[in-house]
Chain length 205, copies 2
């Protein structure tokens, strides 16, 4: 596949375009231009045209992009034209916030199980979920063939949780713990750490 | 300043290096190499050397980087060798999680005020904070000369909150609402949206 060679930095921008296009579509807009899209997401029109053209010819000179069509194409490319089941490990504040989060629907993800190792939390409910004992995490994830997980445990436990997720067959981990994880090459890891985002901005202040 | 021209993508990697270096330092390690650092953060040693060399000569051939010195330099560059006061707007699940988050300390940030517009939440406590009425947000932020804010309100209110923060003099906004914000050129905006991170990974599955 030629798409294998597309730089990850470009792949990382596609979800941003998709989110903006979906909002335009929700507001009833049917076509857009790289200029308009660029204004919304804060990326140059030239960069957007270049990024999107990596995957084919989706726009027309003069008329721009047909939004519904481009959304479908981006969903195809990112493989979110289906629903991925997701588990959350760690039912602290952030785990709870994610269990309640209504922003996953229609964007390719559905939380299907949540885990914790605290006896006081196991059996409780978080959002629509019963909190399962993380001791049974590997078998449960394997049994449901789940490939996507979010880690919201403290930094000290994050690597051992990640190791178990890898054993269970998980291939994509979104890590909220403020620590860099080690994982096999075929497992993708992304990080959410508010401080790194804040530090990236204070450079400019 | 020559540093003005350093690409933002490089600035974005410095907090990742800083986090890894601080963990090495916490574990008692005194020197490191671009190879070791690269293994921890998942970035090539060549890239790390290139990134760091943009700011001067911090490593020595054969002995690598003196961790404490490099931490101090990175903190200087990112301007987190001081404490930035931060406000949180929106006391839902994520706002609460951030108000309780203990990962800001020693990394350059301190939450000093939290706001909401819900009469049921105003006056309540979240973490160590009293929830203030967001109607008084602009004057309070101006009065304390706060430059950094986190937005954790629903998508529908995020732009109007951002507009108020800009009026109050805020120059760096970390936005958790799943919407791209419009802000003047001298105001930096960073985004945290778990779905964009997840979608960036499903491309590869």
């Amino acid at each position: 596949m030629t798409t294998e060679k597309i730089p990850d930095i470009i792949i990382g921008r596609l979800p941003i375009y998709l989110r903006a296009l979906q909002r335009l579509s929700d507001s009833g807009t049917q076509t857009t231009s790289s200029q308009e899209l660029g204004g919304i997401v804060g990326i140059s029109a030239a960069q957007i045209r270049k990024d999107i053209s990596q995957f084919g010819e989706f726009g027309k000179q003069g008329t721009g992009y047909e939004i519904h069509y481009l959304i479908e194409k981006l969903r195809d490319i990112l493989q979110v034209n289906r629903v991925w089941e997701v588990v959350i490990v760690g039912m602290g504040d952030i785990g709870h916030a994610l269990a309640h989060y209504n922003g996953f629907a229609n964007r390719g993800f559905h939380v299907s199980m949540v885990f914790d190792n605290d006896p006081k939390k196991i059996g409780d409910t978080a959002g629509d979920f019963e909190v399962f004992d993380s001791a049974h995490m590997i078998e449960k994830i394997k049994g449901h063939k789940i490939k996507v997980a979010m880690i919201t445990v403290p930094a000290t436990s994050a690597q051992s949780v990640a190791d178990q997720l890898v054993k269970a067959g998980v291939k994509a981990i979104l890590n909220y713990a403020p620590i860099s994880l080690t994982a096999p090459e075929d497992v993708r890891v992304q990080y959410i750490d508010p401080v790194t985002h804040l530090q990236r901005m204070t450079y400019y202040l």
